[in-house]
Symmetry: C2
Subunit: 662 residues, 2 copies
């Protein structure tokens, strides 16, 4: 029983080659530039049929974004790899696809080498050792008529040769805008340097500042704290998980570890102790609208999954850096512009961690304790989207909880500011550098299949029983009011009633509690998008305006803001799907949760510069009346024989001077 194939396996390099060959054969001799060749997931019906009977054949298909004949219009093709045929292929003149590396590099190069840009740089009168680099940003829509593919290039000055020199600490005060197809320089924006939108027409010589660096090579050995001692994690018996292809078993969990360029890791066909829980759990979208109204910053609104992709931008992870302990890695594949598969090594790491005490009870009459530790399985990736990093993790535990964790880190997006100026739109994080306030609004998509496909979404409010002297003579009672959602839509969280959203299977009753079996969503209550309904920011990311969304399942409705977010003018995802007049009760239903953080770099900002310490957010899915008892009751009790913990001796903990250098 070696590698098992599964209909939701990531696309393989062989499959990429087949799909590309089919396309090339079809359109020969016209040249095709490939942007994306990735798995088109099969219809859910087919996957369920296959799970019932594994001899069922499920066709493998690819979703392809491409440009034919150098056309500025992107094409989209759906290719049946198994049957060797192209199912559809059409140009989408109105859609802008995600960024691909080939395109990005061409824009980057065009900007770096354009005489007008070079001429602007000259005006800065930089020291001879300085270099200027640029980050081509996706161009947030501010004009419904715009159809060109635009990139706003933000310029930065690199002041030393270290490969980790922090150019974000030295932003230059101008920003060229390029057409990615013609590679034409359209115009150069001067960046505002004061509180208002006014800009300087003439470039001034650069006012030297010392960049704030994080590069160990620049900081030098003596910069670092010397008293951090090693902490190592060992699993002498090996891991507790089993890997067969992309199928993972761990502590009664079983799931398929999918991966794609857009979403990164995805958990599919998730079960616990043989019972179906979720068909698919994924990070569906993330938008970052900036709250700085000064042109061109009003155009900053990244959709980091739709515009580029958490998979495409995933780092190659390495032992001892990103992952501590006993680690299993998984690879991914993307395509070159000519369709050749390119290996993306170690884009996912998987390992076990000890998260402290999982449960404990002491019989105080005799002091006897039972302790179970909270062993977790962490499946993690790191996406670098230019200046910023997102660490996305799916975390399973032995109490049958599934957590989705996001850590935001990396370098805040910076802009130049005049010395002494403080704007209402951000914080000065270093001399001459400002970081603008922004929001990060994520959406997690949860496709439940709790003991079967037909589920309902229910919300429950805790409300006091008031003024009912017969029922509640002492005024202490509260009750739970339950509402079953019947129609798709956006729904609210209410902290004042501890509102909880649950996925239940109304056909399955828990014998002990008498309630329907279910899982509840531990949501992250967050401020929703602040931009008003008339703004493009809002229209493009309607999903970010409500914390909870419910839709009826349809194949290929995976992305909260729709398939194409780059320069989008409207949300073609939840904004549309949630308006359908259809029943979602006891149906194939999908729950979506929008959460995030308002990153006010001023004044509550933390001066998280140069690199910001992680800001963690965790969404949890927890069983509610799904099991007959605590599902971790059978976890072996914590014991010293296995844990081999050690006592700090009084002397040892005082030997500060013995601290070894790290």
């Amino acid at each position: 029983m070696a590698t098992m194939s599964h209909p939701l396996d990531p696309i393989s390099p062989i499959e990429i080659r087949k799909a590309v060959a089919l396309m090339q054969a079809c359109f020969s001799p016209r040249p095709i530039r490939f942007k994306v060749v990735d798995l088109l997931e099969p219809p859910k019906d087919d996957v369920f049929a296959w799970m019932e009977d594994r001899t069922q054949k499920v066709d493998r298909k690819a979703r392809i974004y491409y440009h034919l004949d150098g056309s500025p219009n992107m094409g989209k093709a759906l290719v049946n790899i198994t049957k060797g045929r192209i199912e559809t292929a059409e140009e989408l003149p109105d859609a802008q696809g995600p960024v691909d590396y080939w395109e990005w590099e061409r824009v980057h190069e065009a900007c770096n080498t354009h005489p007008d840009v070079i001429s602007e740089i000259k005006k800065l009168q930089l020291p001879p050792s300085a270099k200027v680099v640029n980050d081509p940003w996706s161009f947030g829509t501010d004009n419904a008529e715009e159809r060109r593919r635009l990139f706003q290039c933000y310029m930065y000055i690199v002041l030393n040769d270290d490969p980790e020199a922090n150019h974000y600490s030295v932003p230059a005060p101008f920003s060229p805008v390029f057409d990615a197809h013609t590679l034409e320089l359209l115009w150069i924006d001067r960046l505002p340097l004061g509180a208002g939108a006014e800009t300087v027409e003439d470039m001034q010589p650069w006012n030297p500042v010392k960049p704030v660096e994080y590069a160990a090579g620049v900081l030098g050995e003596s910069y670092f704290r010397q008293d951090l001692k090693a902490l190592q994690v060992n699993q002498p018996q090996g891991p507790s998980f089993t890997v067969r292809g992309r199928n993972i078993s761990w502590q009664k969990w079983n799931f398929q570890l999918s991966w794609n360029l857009r979403e990164g890791p995805v958990l599919s066909t998730v079960s616990y102790d043989g019972r179906s829980l979720f068909y698919r759990v994924s990070m569906s979208e993330m938008t970052v609208p900036y709250g700085d109204p000064r042109t061109p910053y009003h155009r900053k609104q990244a959709f980091d999954l739709g515009d580029s992709g958490f998979g495409l931008t995933s780092n190659t992870l390495s032992l001892g850096c990103d992952c501590l302990g006993h680690i299993k890695y998984f690879d991914g594949y993307r395509v070159a512009s000519d369709g050749q598969p390119i290996l993306m090594q170690n884009v996912i790491c998987m390992h076990e961690v000890d998260e402290g005490i999982g449960w404990k009870h002491t019989n105080f009459r005799n002091g006897r304790s039972s302790v179970v530790r909270d062993r977790q399985l962490v499946i993690q990736c790191t996406a670098t989207v230019a200046n910023y990093e997102y660490i996305l993790a799916f975390i399973l535990d032995q109490a049958a909880n599934l957590h989705i964790e996001v850590r935001a880190t990396g370098i805040v997006s910076t802009m130049p500011v005049k010395a002494g100026v403080h704007t209402p739109w951000g914080t000065v994080v270093a001399p001459g550098v400002m970081a603008a306030n922004h929001q990060h609004l994520f959406n997690v998509r949860i496709d439940p299949a709790l003991d079967g496909r037909r589920n309902s979404i229910v919300y429950q409010d805790c409300v006091p029983v008031r003024d009912d002297p017969k029922l509640d003579p002492f005024g202490c009672a509260f009750k739970v009011e339950s509402t079953t959602i019947q129609k798709p839509g956006g729904y609210d969280i209410d902290l004042n009633t501890s509102r909880v959203y649950k996925m239940i299977n109304p056909s399955r009753t828990n014998a002990v509690s008498g309630n329907s079996v279910g899982y509840k969503l531990h949501a992250i209550p967050s401020q929703m998008i602040m931009m008003g309904p008339q703004s493009f920011n809002f229209k493009r990311g309607v999903f970010a305006s409500k914390p909870i969304w419910v839709t009826k399942y349809k194949d290929d409705e995976l992305y909260a803001a729709g398939e194409f977010t780059n320069q989008s003018r409207e949300d073609t995802g939840l904004a549309i799907w949630s308006k359908r007049d259809e029943n979602v009760e006891n149906e194939d239903v999908v729950l979506w949760h929008t959460f995030g953080l308002t990153h006010v770099t001023r004044p509550e900002g933390k001066l998280d510069f140069p690199v910001m310490p992680v800001e963690k957010m965790m969404v949890s899915l927890k069983p509610t009346s799904f099991f007959d008892m605590n599902p971790s009751n059978d976890v072996p009790r914590s014991n010293q024989n296995l844990n081999q913990s050690t006592l700090v001796e009084a002397k040892e903990s005082m030997c500060h001077s013995k601290a070894s250098k790290i």
Copy 2:
């Protein structure tokens, strides 16, 4: 430089003996029963003076609760141990002190042996091997005139000899009420078994059920999952901390690890990199009102710090069970009724953990990454309050964040229920057993001293700029509105504006950002107490009605609901202190945060029985403009040389059958 003494050191056994001897000498020959002998913390002025000049003498004092001559009235004495004199000693006929073990055991024994109780038990016609035990509960006030000291004894049936037999799975349907002073049985409550308040007058024979057990001895070896492999944490170079007496240094942090019977561990005189941060951070109170109006359950409202104490009920922790890795333990002391000090071993554990990635950035141009891991210092205790456990931890990290984490675990409080009955007040968690809905409302007290004692509390709201076409032509701008709190009071959280409360030092400006140096509170937005203002539940725990409280510092104002909570009729803490008309801006100010969870065991409950998996809550204090840059910029980069991580080989992770037995 061995043990250093500090004015905030916990009381020592020698000091206990001295204080007790002073009391005994003073009142001789009258017998004294001691309830509590603990440190009375010195005035803050004295501690600050001592920190300026360590030759300053700060008197050591004890706070003593006692009963003289067997009086039902508790006395309170303040004893100056250093000067050898009793400063005050008075009877408090109107206050009920916390439970002490001596008293608890006497009530327990009186209930177990009372002929009327035995006669009730007989009516249950239990099998000969069964035993009945009782949990004396503090008696929640339902009558303002009551002055007796009452305990409500909840009765449970123990069906096997295992020391961890789960009697909470078999509650008996009656509950005697005792006077703790006279040990008189006052009455016996019959417990309601249906949805309404009606009870059965005649005891019926017990209807046999199988208890739901967590005891490994009862479950047997074959019950446990077999595939959990060992995970061990080693620190071959020893810990990164230094301990001198109760003074701890770790990664630029320095603090005094205080401890007392009421609060358990307390962090005092906390500094980072030599700069003062907090004078004192502590868990101040916790109340658990139950939402079940059926008598006698309406009386269930524990104040687990004031009624008993997180220190007093702290477990003795042990290597490999409660703590994984390289561990340092600290002891505490309580007194016997005769005043003898009793050692409470290992009531605090301290160790380092790796919490994943602390920050990361990859230069996507060349793939070069810097990763810093999130090393944390965890200071933890476990309090067992009869059926329930609270795991309280203070967690420090290298980015200068201070986290206060609570894990709720243990066994939910149970009551008998008729077969087939489902009440609106809780969930049936096992046959014949219900767990009532309740709230856990904690209060954390934060006494800031950010670069000095005079600080202010400010809250900030993020609000969109709307309808200002000149300032915000594209409708994307948002700004931060800041309000400085001038008067004490209770304040609200507003998620829709991402409201954040900050402690700042208005006299110290961050040179980079131009803002006042500060720390912000990452609050836990929670539903506040649901019981109405007319209820005793509310009156006793006014602190639980608002998430944020601000007061001006006064010595000995430490406990959110006041000093005496047992059978209290009103909140004598924040309810009073927050009404004083005094300035709190740029003053010695204290910030209090109430948070918690509404534990709806039905219907969103998780069937967390027999022992519930931890429910985690974390409050964080994070720097905001306090430092010039990310304070963890100087943490050595993560590297394999130190971390010694290992790769899971394909073969290894598939060898499921090799799983060793645990």
